[in-house]
Structures are given as structure tokens and as C-alpha cells.
């Protein structure tokens, strides 16, 4: 478990896990690119640069401790995302009577 990744291991695998987000160009959001292990944030950033931006893939990097990410419960995906179900009227495509009307 990564929350316990504070002890050191010979392979470096017990270093904390960091999730890496790359902004590929100005004006775009940071997008999750992958993860890596590093002993601290500085080294996570340097390693992320070498691993995920060897070909100018990014103009900015975020490194986030994986343990700091709060995720929705994978078992509850049904209930958790239920609310938008059956609410097609939230999409423009629901309104078909106006088809053919210009600039609408």
C-alpha cells in the first residue's frame, strides 16, 4: 500500500508513488500521463521531466503524491453517477423540434 511507502527499499519501490500530470501546451489543462516512484517532490519532478517529456511533450508538470488523491468508490459507480441518468434534457440533442432552425 502506498500510504505506507515511507520506509526505504533497495529497489526504490518503497519510495512514495507520484502521479504525473503534463500540460502539453499553453492554454490546455494538465493531463494525467502516468506515475513514478521518487523519494521526494523535487526528485519526482526531475524524474517526471526525464520520463514523460523527452520529446517536448510538456510546458508544465504537476507531481502529486498518489496517496493524496481521493477517488470515488469503484464499487459504488452505479449509485454515485446515477443522478444524470434519464436526464437527457440536459443535452442540446434532446430538443429535436427546433431542427433546421439556423444558428440555434
Amino acid at each position: 500500500m502506498n500510504t505506507e511507502d515511507t520506509q526505504t527499499g533497495s529497489g526504490g519501490a518503497h519510495w512514495p508513488l507520484w502521479e504525473i500530470f503534463v500540460r502539453s501546451a499553453r492554454g490546455l489543462s494538465h493531463v494525467h500521463a502516468g506515475s513514478l516512484h521518487a523519494p521526494d517532490a523535487d526528485m519526482a519532478l526531475r524524474n517526471a521531466r526525464d520520463l514523460y517529456t523527452r520529446r517536448n511533450e510538456g510546458v508544465s508538470l504537476w507531481v502529486v503524491p498518489a496517496s493524496a488523491i481521493i477517488a470515488s468508490d469503484p464499487d459504488a459507480k452505479g449509485e454515485f453517477f446515477e443522478s444524470p441518468q434519464g436526464k437527457d434534457y440536459r443535452h442540446a440533442t434532446y430538443y429535436t423540434k427546433s431542427e433546421g432552425v439556423k444558428h440555434l
Binding site: 533497495s10 529497489g11 508513488l17 523519494p39 521526494d40 477517488a71
Partner: protein, 330 residues
């Protein structure tokens, strides 16, 4: 992410049959819809094990694959070729890391995988147990070995396990430079002196059969193929991919002005497939069993590199701990 996955796997096991049945039904639905399984999802143990085996073998291959080429960095014929080779070897290290990360989302730590590799308990692609004897081998490795790898990996971008597919997308983007630089090395040699052309031909002769064997045993002998295809991990069989690859290189070799060491290559109009000569599967099994030309040397080097790097890992850990302590005081 690895965090959620290890948690979830433990819970799924503890909850017993009912959870497993519901999980299986959901899993089957996702596979049938050709959608993607993500780390927190329930998955059959066999699926998890198959992926851990395949992804880690793939990662180990990238890591061991640095050796035959690393061997030529110091002897590259020009500064340009040296820079290219270093970039390629660095890519292989990166590919190994992408893949270890993907494997970790299945709940297996990277140091366990690393220990398996250096203890000689894990497999990696048999091709890397062949020596790289000449500079032309750098060309043939890029063209044939990376070419075969790409042929194998492009369909893996659509593998049903999300993190594996995403890692393969990155890998494939980067591999195409590897194949082209290899082709260019051969092209330059093939248009050089007669001795250089002969060196290029020798390299192609030596690596042709091992590259074809990279696709794995014939479909009739492939232990894992059909289940992997049912799970949408593999999209094409070993033989299908091998035939496709032969069809590509049979045209490319003409541009090089070289030949493939196989008189039985022909296009079968009836089946619409390329046929090729019998491959020496006894040799393949020997190499896989650890009795190839370089198996021992590759593992020894890997072990040494890991041990020689221990002080770097320790120093990085100590530095991080010391810095955290000082920040706490301040």
C-alpha cells in the same frame, strides 16, 4: 492508480462468492462491449495474473534490451549516431518504467518484479540473449527487432486493461524512431563499400529468424493465446502477426538492396497470407530455457547495475529524509 487497486482486490476476496459473481458479470459485460478494465475494477484472478506476467515480461525486455545497444554507444561510428543510440537506450529505460508502472496498478510492487528479474526467475524476450557483434547489428536490431516489436505492440494499444493500453500508446509513438534509425543504418551500409554491404547482409541474416520468433511459439503450441484473445488482451494470434511482419519486411528489404535468408517466403494467393520457411523452435526453447548465447551475461550485468546503483538510491532516500526533517524544524 495502484492505491485503490490493492485495497479493492483485498476487499473483493474477503466479500466472498456474491461479490465475485457480481464482479464477474460486470467484467464480462465490459469485455463484451470491448471497453476497458481499470485497476479498481473487479477482475478474475487469471486475468490479473496473465497481465502481471505479460506486462512484467515486457518491462524486463525493455530493461534487458538496453544491453546489446548500450554495448555500442562507446563505439558508434559518429557523434550523431552516438547521440541517436543514447536517446534510443534512454527510451528503452523509459518504456520499462511505463510498463512497471502499469504492472504496479495490478497490485505487484516494482521491487518484487525487479527481484524476480535479477534472480533469473522472470522471462524476457529471447531476442536479447543474442549478441550484437557488429555496428550493422545496431541497424538490424532497429529495423527487424524493433519492427517486430512495433507489429506486436500496435494491437496492444487496444488491450482491454487500461493502464497497459495507455503505456503501449506512449511506447509505440517512440518506437517508430527506433525502427527508422535502424533502417537508415542498414541503408547507409548497404550503399557503402562491398565490405560494409556484406556486414549489413550478415546482420540481417543473423537477426531475421530470431526477430520472427519474437512473436512467440506457433499458434498450435501457444499456451496462453486463446484465453488472452478472449479477454481482449491480445487481438491477433502469434502466427497472424508474424505473417503480417514478413509481408512488411519482404518489401522493405528490396529498398535496402539486401536479401532475407529465407528461400521459402511467398505470398499465398488463396489464403491471402505470407508464408515463410520453418523456424528452429528447438533453438527458441533453448534460449528461453536460459541456454542462449548471452543469457548469463545479460543477467549478470543487470544484477551488477542494480547493485552498483544501490548507493544512489540510498543517497536519494537519505537526502529526502534530511530535507524533510529540516523543513519540519524550520
Amino acid at each position: 492508480m495502484a492505491t485503490q487497486d490493492s485495497d479493492h482486490h483485498a476487499v473483493a476476496n474477503a466479500d466472498g462468492d456474491e461479490t465475485a459473481a457480481a464482479g464477474q458479470a460486470y467484467f464480462d459485460k465490459i469485455i463484451a462491449a470491448d471497453s476497458r478494465i481499470e485497476p479498481p475494477d473487479w477482475m478474475p484472478d487469471g486475468y490479473r495474473k496473465t497481465l502481471i506476467r505479460q506486462i512484467s515480461q515486457h518491462a524486463h525486455s525493455e530493461v534487458i534490451g538496453m544491453q546489446p545497444e548500450g554495448n555500442w554507444i562507446g563505439r558508434a561510428p559518429s557523434l550523431k549516431r552516438k547521440a541517436i543510440l543514447m536517446a534510443k537506450v534512454q527510451d528503452e529505460a523509459g518504456h520499462g518504467l511505463y510498463l512497471y508502472s502499469a504492472a504496479e496498478t495490478l497490485g505487484i510492487p516494482r521491487d518484487v518484479l525487479n527481484d524476480q528479474l535479477i534472480a533469473g526467475k522472470a522471462r524476457y524476450s529471447s531476442i536479447f540473449n543474442y549478441p550484437a557483434r557488429s555496428w550493422a547489428d545496431m541497424g538490424a536490431i532497429g529495423w527487424l527487432v524493433d519492427g517486430a516489436a512495433i507489429c506486436n505492440q500496435v494491437p496492444l494499444c487496444r488491450a482491454s486493461f487500461g493502464p497497459y493500453g495507455r503505456a503501449m500508446v506512449r511506447v509505440c509513438k517512440e518506437e517508430s524512431f527506433h525502427q527508422r534509425q535502424g533502417f537508415e543504418i542498414l541503408l547507409e551500409l548497404a550503399n557503402g563499400t562491398p565490405a560494409q554491404k556484406q556486414m549489413a547482409q550478415d546482420a540481417v541474416d543473423g537477426l531475421y529468424a530470431p526477430a520472427l520468433m519474437m512473436f512467440g511459439p506457433p499458434d498450435s503450441d501457444s499456451a496462453h493465446s486463446s484465453q488472452s484473445m478472449a479477454w481482449n488482451i491480445k487481438r491477433f494470434s502469434n502466427d497472424e502477426l508474424r505473417q503480417r511482419f514478413v509481408g512488411m519486411i519482404v518489401e522493405q528489404v528490396k529498398v535496402l538492396g539486401l536479401t532475407l535468408p529465407d528461400d521459402d517466403i511467398r505470398f499465398n494467393e488463396e489464403t491471402g497470407k505470407w508464408e515463410y520457411g520453418e523456424l528452429d523452435w528447438d533453438e527458441f526453447n533453448e534460449v528461453l530455457a536460459g541456454r542462449g548465447p548471452c543469457n548469463a551475461q545479460r543477467l549478470t550485468r543487470r544484477r551488477e547495475a542494480h547493485e552498483n546503483g544501490a548507493w544512489v538510491r540510498e543517497a536519494a532516500t537519505a537526502y529526502a529524509a534530511e530535507k524533510a526533517k529540516r523543513e519540519q524544524v524550520a
